[in-house]
């Protein structure tokens, strides 16, 4: 196996990657992403890689990326969920109605009450979790294939959302709800730097802890220079990202209004960057939690074991039916979070929210290396997949590619990505 690999790349390069213990597939995806970015940057005369566009790209990716992390678990357990876009719409409709009608009118809290946003979010999360869990029960306990259950769900939940709102646009949404949308809620420059530094410290700490744990068990560790190089990569990536988001300045008239709202006058020549959007913070939090679940919890271990060999999992005493319910419930909850981000970004609930998201979400997970045969997939891969898809879509829009061609390209890329994946797995001898 090692022989065939060393034939395909120079031995020296391979040695470096091995020492760093970097995932070659991850590097491939990052490479593809960078290529896409550079290509569009050239085609748009440098408009693609501006802080402004990167900021927008980031906040446009969040909702699909959040759902893609859940789709990884679904596909890893050899299921599929076609209902995520519709479920997002139902959760969004429920949250919109809760904050505009149920809480202010029926419960008499009145508009603008502090409890409205948290109340709506909690109701939405519970709804998503229950609906997802119900679909999981149909799959796990009643044995209906996930494809059918969620194909039905695609139609059902889209129209439940319609029924709940009478097909109308619901808004404006609560002010504290809208901060989860992206541009309407950012940390500002100072807090973004603080977050970046804390995140970096955390990354370095876990790197150090991983090394220490290996040493206590007498397992081989990377040489120190490799650790240092990795640490440098983390630092550049995290702080560079923060720097980019901080470089996108809030427009002057908007800043003036912010100062006015505080009853102050804006000093002459004052500028302030947007910084890290709260929606991105949410995505980072979800990515960390989902990665921890995947790698460090029994639930995650059982998800991957079941995907690798369902019979073995069952014979090892894992309750695979209940596991299916849990996996779909997680997916449902994430649809609710994505619904929160998507409707907050628009600042209203629209009847067509989340339409076709199931395709984007599945594509993100698959482009990110989740194997449809089950058992294999990573959270970071799915997020990167979502980012690549979104870059393609917005890049083509900026270049002025006609809408039908955009979709043709995105569809083809999905198929091509899977083909490359199959070839890659064959080459490396992995499953």
């Amino acid at each position: 196996m090692t022989d065939t690999v060393s034939q395909t790349s120079t031995p020296q390069k391979r040695k470096l990657l091995d020492t760093l213990e970097l995932d070659t597939r991850l590097l491939g995806m990052i490479g593809a992403f960078i290529l896409v970015c550079i290509a569009f940057n050239v085609l748009t005369d440098g408009r693609f890689l501006t802080p402004r566009n990167i900021f927008n790209l980031t906040i446009q990716t969040v909702s699909v990326a959040i759902m893609a992390t859940g789709m990884v678990f679904i596909i890893v357990t050899r299921h599929i969920d076609l209902s995520v876009g519709s479920l997002l719409a139902t959760c969004s409709a429920i949250m919109a109605m809760t904050q505009t009608v149920v809480l202010p009118d029926w419960l008499g809290l009145g508009l603008g009450h502090w409890a409205i946003a948290p109340g709506a979010i909690i109701v939405g999360l519970i709804a998503g979790c229950l609906i997802g869990g119900f679909q999981g029960w149909l799959v796990g306990y009643l044995g209906i294939p996930a494809f059918i259950v969620t194909l039905g769900g695609l139609l059902v939940w889209r129209n439940v959302a319609w029924y709940l709102t009478n097909g109308q646009t619901i808004g404006p949404l609560d002010d504290s709800f809208v901060i989860f949308g992206g541009i309407g809620g950012t940390l500002g420059e100072t807090w973004s730097w603080i977050f970046g530094i804390v995140a970096l410290a955390f990354a370095l700490f876990s790197q150090w802890q991983g090394r220490r744990s290996k040493i206590t068990h007498d397992f081989p560790v990377k040489p120190l220079w490799a650790e240092a190089l990795l640490a440098a990569i983390y630092a550049v990536a995290i702080l560079g990202f923060i720097w980019l988001l901080n470089s996108y300045d809030i427009p002057e008239n908007r800043l003036e209004r912010m100062f006015e709202a505080r009853g102050a006058v804006m000093p002459e020549g004052y500028t302030e960057g947007y910084g890290l959007p709260i929606s991105v913070l949410l995505l980072i939090g979800i990515a960390i939690v989902m990665t921890l679940v995947a790698r460090r919890t029994r639930l995650g271990r059982y998800i991957f074991a079941t995907g690798g060999n369902p019979d073995a999992a069952e014979l090892s005493g894992i309750n695979t039916r209940l596991l299916t319910v849990k996996v779909f419930a997680i997916m449902g909850a994430l649809c609710a979070v994505a619904g929160l981000v998507a409707s907050a970004r628009l600042s209203f609930h629209s009847n067509d929210i989340g339409t076709l998201d199931e395709l984007r979400v599945i594509a993100a997970a698959v482009i990110g290396g989740t194997a449809l045969s089950g058992g294999i997939g990573t959270i970071y891969g799915a997020i990167l997949g979502a980012l690549i898809m979104q870059s393609l879509q917005s890049g083509m829009a900026m270049v002025g590619v006609d809408a039908p061609f955009q979709n043709i390209v995105v569809g083809s890329v999905l198929v091509l990505a899977v083909l490359i994946d199959i070839i890659y797995r064959k080459r490396t001898g992995a499953k």
Binding site: S213, L292, A312, A313, S316, G375, I376
Partner: protein
């Protein structure tokens, strides 16, 4: 066999009058077998005789349609693999029950992971334990971090065996454990069976190799078409007697 098995106490396992049907097929038809501590009982029979189905009732993979199971003289309810594990019944399946995408340690501890005080799985500790037990069972085993898909049949079988041994099985079920193995690895499994027997485990061994059954087992129960032909002490019969039971379904002249 050199060591005498004492059969005057209560048997470790008694499967009484077990029946399993799949649709119209009577896969197991009123079969009774038993097993004493420190004993290896071979299960013989053609493909489709019902051996795997019978022992799957004991390991919790199937539920019997009729009959009872007693463990240490007490009636046991085994509805799923978790129940079986509670009775210290461990199984090494014919089709290796490993998750190919996970490494050896994750497979060994599947369903019974070691966790940190915070409740996370403790991969380092599990790998260390795996290295320890593998050092004992199969010192040649070196691939601790790769998914088991990339391992040889013998290495995969060692993982399956290590799993049974690590958790202090009292009753071990081995369904054709050497079917996928080379001569070297087969020898390793045979030695292991002797070792476990000395430790007082009871072992049900399904094996096609009559030679091996004569060498390793104390008794052999032969099945044909879902029915029990008979149970014999292997020292009191010849290989031809056993073959006669398997092929013709007839008891040897001087039945045990």
């Amino acid at each position: 066999m050199a060591t005498e098995v004492r059969r005057d106490g209560t048997p470790l396992v008694e499967m009484r009058d077990i029946s399993v049907a799949f649709g119209g097929v009577k896969a197991v038809d009123h079969v009774s077998v038993d097993l004493y501590p420190g004993e290896v009982v071979g299960l013989l029979g053609h493909n489709g005789a019902g051996k795997s189905t019978l022992i799957k009732c004991l390991s919790g993979a199937y539920q019997a349609d009729g009959g009872e199971i007693y463990v240490n003289g007490e009636k046991a309810t085994i509805n799923n693999p978790r129940d079986a594990r509670r009775y210290n019944i461990e199984t090494i399946y014919q089709t290796l029950a490993l998750a190919d995408n996970l490494d050896a340690a994750s497979n060994l501890f599947l369903g019974r992971e070691l966790t940190t005080p915070m409740g996370f799985v403790n991969d380092a500790a599990m790998e260390a334990e795996t290295r320890k037990i593998m050092g004992r069972l199969n010192p040649n085993f070196k691939n601790f971090t790769t998914p088991v898909a990339s391992l040889s049949g013998g290495q995969r079988q060692s993982v399956a065996i290590a799993r049974a041994v690590y958790f202090n099985a009292k009753i071990l079920i081995m369904d054709e454990p050497t079917a996928a193995l080379g001569p070297q690895e087969t020898k390793m499994v045979a030695e292991l069976i002797d070792e476990l027997k000395r430790q007082g485990l009871g072992i049900f061994l399904i094996d096609h190799d009559i030679h091996q059954v004569k060498a390793l087992c104390d008794r052999a129960s032969v099945m044909k078409n879902g029915q029990l032909v008979g149970t014999v002490h292997v020292d009191e019969v010849t290989e031809d007697d056993l073959l006669g039971m398997i092929i013709l379904g007839k008891q040897p002249e001087k039945a045990a």
